[in-house]
Symmetry: C2
Subunit: 341 residues, 2 copies
DNA sequence: ACTCTATGCAAAATCGATTTGGCACCACAA
DNA sequence: TTGTGGTGCCAAATCGATTTTGCATAGAGT
């Protein structure tokens, strides 16, 4: 490994090709008027020298960083890994990266930001905040710096804001509930969590409306968002005490806890209890029994979020909010109830 | 939302504070000689205007991007999500982001790169490639551009390379095997996958040595790395045909497949078969039964990788390779065999 | 032959921050 | 008074690419 020689500059390419820096720039950016032969020669030299334009210089000139930031959800630190341990977020991330790349943007992944200065440091054109809390301080930081920002999920404290992309949690909930009812469930409960994300808020509201409309007793249990393993067990216990015959449980970690609780009580799924989870994952597919899940379409969500952010950066009016349609993935955990016939 | 006024430049701060740009720069970077009163006034003005240094200009001057890239593993596209659907990678990513941030580096997440030009576009000082394949083309791209690169996991085709960080897969394997033997297992098998990562290669080699040393029959089955759900089922079937009483299975998705196969054959874990997986995860903790797993310490791995990369960027000699010690997390899936007494 | 236009290329300005070198001023000593 | 050293601040050079402007030259049109 030789002591890496300094990177070639545009000047070096120009000299080696016997032309001006201007011409090299024109060739590399497909602009200006350059003879085909010169063009080819310059391109060849640039390739041979391994020339790579300095993106700082380029960005300085063009006034854009061509870089956007991604901020993953923050919750109680201990809980973060549990909550994010679902491949939805992995898939979302990969798809945001890919979508940004296709739009010629680099994707900076940011850690939880503590102070405004933390954000100042980065050379970005805008950011995507995933699962904002009410009046999320991270969104406020972007606003404060005049940086464009969009969210994946809605800030439930700011109904006027339009710059968001979110899966249709309410529709997803109704689809699940109808599916459970069609499978024969009478006492349909919901197991949620006390985190103020629009995903949960919308699901709970839809559940309330659905039970009211169908004249069913609402059975909603919320888990505390800390010490997740134990709070899942505790909440699952409270829920089972209500003796439901079907449950819609949005987050995967709660579904896992609920399944464990049913096993401990000797209940069978789907025999005694139908269970549907609100996000698809490898865990849902391979659990025993396989869990009926809602496909939140992380790929499309990612693409729309990147597109919306770029719109905002370029000052175009919001074609927003953007609601992503969901689909139900029925699996064995909600197989039709027959024993009640 | 007003049409966001242009960001203040250092010039605006200088004018508003009645000093030169030089002085503003000195204040903001804690350099030079500036009277305390002036210093305070400039700082106040900068804060009030929401001044944020243009990182392109700064980077241009300093010659560094203060940005490093992270490249996640690539495998057959269909399989990627299955393989990465384990919180190890999520945790690794978050920790790399955090570690980079603490070292004043921004973290660019890159998509799978197809061409050299894909990499040229980004303004980075170096990169971290996770789970390199033999003679990994992504590593080659970095080399080709003279960009510092380190890997998490070793390129098994380049034994001379030192710029890597990896969990001690061999030691982890021996620990697991000893643990299984201590629990009473006689016929210890290994279920691996045909992917040429050092994690698997080292584990298989350690397994071969261990069986030879203990005079046990080696029972190694490799799954094909495509169509993961079906190939897991197929490989698990082949393995169970060998009638082992314990299995070490590094990847989580294979362990999931193996558990399903045991259920279908009416085998109980740990009653008839001890199972240990090679990476810890939420799935391993919450599966039924909970799976004994190897803690690969993604937090430390991430930190060491970032540190090693910065060393290389700054031209320091490699304090490398860096082998991360592992620990075993015994759970119910390897509870001691008593029925054989 | 003589203008006119299009073409190929280059010189110089520009983006915004950092850094070097130096000027003016003051206090103090010789 | 004159030097000496330290302090506080600023002008200008600099980083590397892009873009504007301009200047030759060649070829076309009259």
């Amino acid at each position: 490994m030789q002591p890496s020689r300094p990177r070639p500059r545009i000047r070096d390419v120009a000299r080696a090709a016997g032309v001006s820096e201007t011409t090299v720039s024109h060739v590399l950016n497909n602009k200006g008027r350059v003879e085909a032969a010169t063009r080819a020669r310059v391109a060849e030299v640039a390739e041979r020298l391994g020339y790579r334009p300095n993106s700082n210089a380029r960005g300085l000139r063009s006034g854009r960083a061509d870089t956007i930031a991604l901020l993953m959800p923050i919750v109680d630190l201990d809980a973060t890994h549990h909550i994010l341990a679902v491949d939805f977020y992995l898939s979302l991330t990969m798809n945001v990266v890919e979508a940004a790349f296709e739009r010629d943007q680099a994707l900076l992944q940011l850690p939880p930001l503590r102070r405004l200065d933390d954000l100042r440091r980065f050379g970005i054109d805008g950011g995507i905040v995933v699962d904002p809390l009410p009046s999320d301080p991270r969104v406020a930081m972007f606003d404060r710096l005049g940086l464009p920002v969009v969210t994946i999920g809605r800030d439930i404290a700011h109904p006027g804001d339009h710059w968001w992309v979110a899966a249709d949690s309410a529709a997803g909930t109704l689809t699940v509930l109808d599916h459970l009812a069609a499978a024969g469930a009478r006492r349909v409960a919901m197991l949620s969590v006390d985190i103020e994300w629009s995903w949960f808020a919308d699901a709970e509201r839809a559940y309330a409306e659905w039970t009211a409309r169908h004249g069913r007793p609402p059975m909603l249990v919320r888990a505390r968002p800390d010490k997740l393993d134990s709070s899942a067990a505790e909440a699952a216990g409270r829920l089972l005490d209500l003796e439901p015959d079907a449950v819609y449980v949005p987050p995967q970690w709660l579904a896992t806890g609920l399944l464990r609780a049913t096993r401990e009580r000797g209940l069978s799924v789907p025999g005694d209890l139908l269970v549907s989870v609100g996000v698809d994952s490898h865990q849902a597919r391979t659990s025993e029994p396989a869990l009926t899940a809602v496909d939140l379409d992380p790929a499309r969500t990612a693409r729309e979020a990147v597109d919306l952010l770029i719109s905002r950066i370029e000052g175009r009016p919001p074609q927003a909010p953007r609601v992503i349609p969901i689909t139900l993935l029925p699996r064995r955990s909600t197989a039709a109830i027959t024993r009640r016939a």
